[in-house]
Amino acid sequence: MTCSAVDTEKLNRARRQVFLALFIAIAVSLHMLESLLPSPIPWLRLGLANTLALSALYLYDGRAAWTVSLARVGIGALLLGRLFSPGFWLALSGAIVATSVMIIVHRTCGRHLSAIGVSATGAAGHALGQLLTARLLIIQHEAIWQIAPPFLFFTVFSGVLTGWLATLLLERLAQHPAFQTTGGHPLN
């Protein structure tokens, strides 16, 4: 049986939807798991869920990354009962800045960077977005910038970890039949 061009397009769109739905589901699970784990400081979390947004960016495009990030924050907040709480705004602003930064960095200097570099800048953006929101909404005092350096220090490591995991995931996915037909390695 032969496939017409229209069929391939439809098939790709359906595949994209299925994979993004899976990514969102995994991201929400990781997000919830992390918020249930005890942490010495509430903001210090690994941000493993970002692995999926990063993978969506590399596999598809910026729009896919936005879909995964925003859906993860929204659904995660609903499930944890945190919608519109301070923690929700922190997570949302972190996700928005991180996703924008990752998309811009990926587009402008993606040739010189692997997913790890993109992820590290995204993680720094996440920290910055959270601190800005904390400054505006919660602490409302310049003293909040005191926690920026240790926060940034930690977040770079979590960014590297996330980027590494995303690379491993992308390598696995590249061998998946769904990505054989579209041609090309997702990391390229």
């Binding site: 509430p42 960077l113 570099g117 720094a124 005092h141 910038w145 350096p149 940034l152």
Partner: protein, 128 residues
């Protein structure tokens, strides 16, 4: 399975080291901040308690959830009891350097330490 350093490009290293460098400079900066002199407590944005850092004392601070217990002694200022669910303010430990901050977000209590420069101390810390 590739390790991170097998994947990382020169650009990656540049970015990671640059970010770590910025963070380390910031941490060093904070470590040399002078010990503060005044403890200022705000509740819901309004100053409700001011004390000297070198005079040991303790006080119950009223917030929407109940009383947050603040102790000031030679270790600095720290929270020993709080009605908030996650006890993050207690876990933050003592604050004593100028610009240090303890916050109990659920109970709307914020404790900050100011240096000899008074109100401007946090700005000094940023602009120095």
């Amino acid at each position: 399975m590739k390790t991170p350093w097998q994947i990382m490009t020169k650009g990656d290293w540049l970015i990671v080291l640059m970010l770590l460098g910025i963070a380390l400079v910031g941490i060093a900066w904070l470590a040399v901040a002078p010990t503060g002199t005044r403890v200022i407590v705000t509740s819901g944005g309004e100053t409700c308690f001011v004390a000297d850092l070198d005079r040991p004392t303790s006080i119950d601070l009223d917030g929407p959830l109940g009383k947050t217990h603040l102790v000031i002694d030679e270790q600095g200022a720290y929270v020993t009891g709080s009605p908030c669910p996650r006890k993050i303010c207690i876990a933050m430990g003592p604050a004593k350097r100028a610009g240090d901050l303890l916050a109990c977000v659920p109970n709307r209590i914020m404790v900050r330490i100011e240096g000899p420069a008074g109100e401007d101390a946090p700005y000094d810390l940023l602009s120095r």
